[in-house]
Symmetry: C2
Subunit: 156 residues, 2 copies
Amino acid sequence: MTVRPPTAADRGAVLDALTSCRAFSELEVEVAIGMFDEGLAGDYALLGVEAEGSLCGYACIGRASLTERSWYLYWICVHPAFHGRGVGQALQAAVEQLVLGSGGDKLVLETSARRQYGRSRRFYESAGFSVQGRLVDFYKRGEDCIIYCKALGALP
Amino acid sequence: MTVRPPTAADRGAVLDALTSCRAFSELEVEVAIGMFDEGLAGDYALLGVEAEGSLCGYACIGRASLTERSWYLYWICVHPAFHGRGVGQALQAAVEQLVLGSGGDKLVLETSARRQYGRSRRFYESAGFSVQGRLVDFYKRGEDCIIYCKALGALP
């Protein structure tokens, strides 16, 4: 398992992971792959994990504008064939290393409270994120937005 | 007092309001005026209030991506010479009318917990926004982000 920056050649694998994981709607996949393309162009930072010869997961992050040290974790996705092997943890560790190395010390993410996101929410919580806000009916009626934060570099 | 869409000719008045109100840092003014320009180009919706022959306040809003009916209130600013005359209330009413008329029913805004924003926070609270989240140290150490929401169209 190797952490490396994704390239344009990984686009198919990223799209495959996004659609196969069944967490995302068609529109969400469209937005996510659009941001992957913008990430390749330099608008966001991308990180990938390669295993068995192809990219099996990736993360897309970016600086939060108007902040000194906060970053957004926009997308993190692991192909379901690789779930349970620590790919998400490796990605998360790489994300934190990149943010800390760039002078950041806080990660913020927004996610849906809907049932299909249960696995993701458990992942964020075990990764040390905590809920800092909840926007009722944000995505649509009955689907709240949960805002998670993690302060980085607070280890002893 | 007239509510109308701002035009490129109002750019100077908007910049004057942003700098004169002393709520915003230089960087914030830069970002706000950049978004005003992008709003003129169609990326955001802009609303203005004209009084005594010039624009004395404006708001910049936009749809929240991946949501059905949520909008962000990015910027709302009234020139201090016109504070206390109901310009903010007129802008806020126009914002809500625009959002409702576009099929939206929720407004979200993020603002700083710093002292200079006290007037703004009181305005949001009297306009019916309530705090839904707080991101500690988001802007910088000691400067939290407060997330406000308002559900629209819930009037009897």
